[in-house]
């Protein structure tokens, strides 16, 4: 097993190969993990990969695809929108043969809603956007520039914005402003069910909890 899988989704120059972390032994249960968005994607990656190891040990295959424009993806983030990510996750689910889904935080905005499964602490797009805008405004104030969130948002809607190092298209900004978690019938998992401890997605410094991965894997495997 080589821990990775390739899937394709439409890019600007036709179909593009995308990467997924994969624990694939051709077993019956196959879970697509839709990652959290932006900085939260990095902060939760260790939690998710450790959860995948435990699912593997429990006899369940799992896949953690890149969102196009993030991680190993050859695509340009500035051309992505929540719509393109939703389409990409549907493509990944189909090509990887997933029959269940686990969406994490903002992943719930783009999950393939037809698959049964779980969503971990789903979050509205506006909440994620506000946090990114806040960081930008605070950094600007530190530099003596009094930017306002409203002015930045206007600029983002028209021309796009770089937030926390992520270049977001106007379509992405608009999508985040209004998108709500789209889970329907998937079970909502709360942080408290993972046995306590800090939320990995809100940690500014890296950290991991074996307890949280074990608890998450147990809920997904149940």
């Amino acid at each position: 097993m080589d821990f990775r899988a390739t899937w394709t989704c439409p890019g600007p120059d036709g179909l593009t190969d995308e990467h997924a972390v994969a624990f694939d032994r051709g077993r019956q249960r196959r879970v697509l993990i839709v990652p959290a968005l932006f900085e939260e994607q990095n902060r939760t990656r260790r939690l998710l990969v450790e959860t995948m190891r435990r699912l593997d040990a429990a006899g369940i295959d799992s896949f953690l695809p890149d969102l196009p424009g993030c991680n190993e993806s050859p695509q340009d983030l500035a051309r992505q929108s929540l719509h393109s990510w939703r389409q990409a996750m549907a493509d990944a689910a189909r090509q990887l043969g997933a029959n269940a889904v686990l969406a994490v935080r903002g992943g719930a905005l783009v999950l393939p809603a037809h698959l049964p499964g779980q969503v971990l602490e789903p979050v509205a797009g506006a909440t994620l956007l506000r946090q990114l805008l806040r960081a930008r405004v605070l950094a600007a104030r530190e530099a003596g520039d009094h930017a306002s969130i409203d002015a930045l948002l206007d600029q983002g809607r028209e021309r796009g914005l770089v937030l926390a190092g992520y270049r977001l298209a106007p379509a992405m900004i608009a999508g985040l402003e209004s998108a709500l978690p789209a889970h329907e019938g998937q079970r909502t998992i709360l942080l408290a069910e993972l046995g306590g401890g800090a939320a990995p997605w809100s940690r500014a410094e890296p950290g991991e909890s074996a307890q949280q991965s074990t608890a998450l894997a147990r809920i997904v495997a149940a």
């Binding site: 909440t127 506000r130 806040r134 960081a135 605070l138 530190e142 809100s202 940690r203 500014a204 410094e205």
Partner: protein
């Protein structure tokens, strides 16, 4: 929550608000329980803690809003609010009511 040894900042907030704010700093910044228990009103934060960059501050404010059920107006945030633990606690306590 924070162990009993926390240095209290009773002048501006209840012990409960104080404990919850220390727990948020611990969780968001990945600080040890001992470190946050050692904070007093004059402990410097923004600019003094390497963990506390602008993205971390944004996360910290969001977490304070979530855990205390309050809304923080971004125009109220300036360098002074985040300068010391005492200032951040007073700011939070004033909004928790």
């Amino acid at each position: 929550m924070i162990s009993g040894g926390a240095m209290r900042v009773n002048a501006v907030a209840s012990d409960e608000t104080d404990d919850r704010l220390r727990a948020i700093l611990r969780d968001v910044l990945g600080l040890s329980a001992e470190t946050v228990a050692g904070f007093d009103a004059g402990t410097a934060l923004f600019g003094a803690l390497p963990e506390l960059d602008s993205m971390a501050v944004a996360g910290l404010l969001t977490e304070i809003e979530d855990r205390f059920g309050i809304v923080i107006d971004d125009d109220e945030i300036d360098g002074e609010v985040l300068e010391t633990y005492g200032a951040l606690l007073a700011f939070t306590a004033a909004r928790v009511g």
